[in-house]
Symmetry: C2
Subunit: 257 residues, 2 copies
């Protein structure tokens, strides 16, 4: 065991000078598992991983390319270190549902720590870089440090809770509510990773992504988004999202936190 883990994953390094590994109630997976840069010893990231994981390789995927396919088997566990990706399922006729967006510090699939098949397709939205761990190394590391099982479990439980909310959204909320929720949720995720500047975040999503995530068509997304902008709740321009009226947006989203 060494401290060579430092500089492993630098969450939010797209934005620069972000708070890394600040003690937060709900951080990204990398932070939770102590996989991120040990820039501030004494906080949650001082944990040490075995040499085997340090030796893991780096992967680069250009925008709009698949990272992995639904039925693909792999011996590796991927963690995104920069860029955005989308995890989705698709029907034969092309109808697609995005199940989650993957931001820096997230596992491409938490399930792949245990299972060789992830069951979803994952596509790069922007250019993406990943760190690739061999699953066996990862598992061995877990056996060495069983307290991490609990943390991995927490991450997974959170993902499940989000999946439940997604079903509730898709089954029972109107288009404007769904879109408001997606925006609020993405803004929060970005903020947790230090990727936010006030109420503004980098926003690489096309309206097609929003449509596929909310179960709508991109035409309808355009109309709803136009409404929200005309009501001065949000602004999207130059691939930048700003929440102008957080209170109203959260009310529409039914956000209670």
């Amino acid at each position: 065991l060494t401290l060579a883990v430092a500089a492993r994953v630098r969450t939010g390094d797209e934005v620069g000078n972000s708070v890394i590994c600040a003690a937060s109630s709900a951080m990204c997976s990398a932070q939770r598992l102590g996989l991120c840069e040990g820039a501030k010893p004494g906080l949650s990231c001082e944990e040490q991983w075995p040499e085997a994981l340090v030796a893991s390789s780096i992967l680069t995927i250009p925008a709009r390319r698949p990272i992995c396919h639904r039925k693909e088997w792999t011996d590796h566990v991927l963690m995104v270190t920069s860029g955005w990706a989308a995890s989705s399922l698709t029907l034969q006729d092309g109808r697609r549902q995005i199940l989650s967006f993957i931001l820096p510090g997230d596992f491409v699939s938490i399930a792949s720590v245990f299972e060789p098949m992830i069951g979803r397709s994952v596509d790069a939205i922007t250019d993406v870089t990943c760190r690739r761990f061999r699953r066996e190394d990862f598992k061995a590391a877990l056996i060495d440090r069983p307290e991490l099982y609990g943390k991995l479990f927490e991450i997974w439980a959170d993902e499940n809770a989000q999946a439940d909310q997604l079903a509730l959204d898709l089954g029972r909320r109107r288009a404007d509510e769904r879109i408001a929720r997606l925006i609020v949720s993405l803004a929060e995720q970005a903020a947790k990773r230090g990727m936010a500047q006030g109420e503004t975040i980098d926003f690489p999503l096309r309206q097609r992504h929003i449509a596929d995530a909310t179960g709508l068509t991109s035409v309808h997304v355009s109309k709803v988004l136009g409404d929200l902008q005309r009501k001065d709740m949000i602004d999207i321009s130059d691939r930048l999202l700003t929440i102008l009226n957080p209170t109203a947006l959260r009310r529409l989203a039914g956000w209670h936190e």
Copy 2:
């Protein structure tokens, strides 16, 4: 360790003379974990659990009553031994989304093995009986028999796969497709538990349950169900569901298995 585990959970005992613990590729949770009746030694149910679990208590919940609430904390793990239940989330204004139906042999929440809060509300549809294990006992049993971790994991992974499919259904399929899928899926689950008699199963769901599971209104469910019956694809009467044309129904459901 003793064999006192026998007669613990008898899946499908509503239907009588069912195949119990037959070797099947995808069984209920009870069977997978060796928690069901050891009627056929040599098959998958000869596994033995610690005395502590045998001493677990029985719970009875009448139809239409809550089994547990979303934010409730509990020290117990529940497994349904008879009756049907529904696991759901509800908005303030009453809109409700059922996330899954729980049949005999299912855990009320697999997450409750590790976490005190399950995050969903669960309600009895029919009269329900549960076996109640203390979580600490359950965990202790897992530590004794670590191979069960893998099985528990499998069960959980299956649940996640179903959650993903639910999102795809709610976001991207039409009403008739959703309803067809629900019916096919319930019929398969019932068959796996030996609760089917040919293409007929006990079917205690009200149209309101189908509506809440598919993200529709019960009025619309009535119309679609009427169509399916007029087309001789299914028949529902006397709380009994019969699939008259499995091929057509599966085609509509986009079932590929």
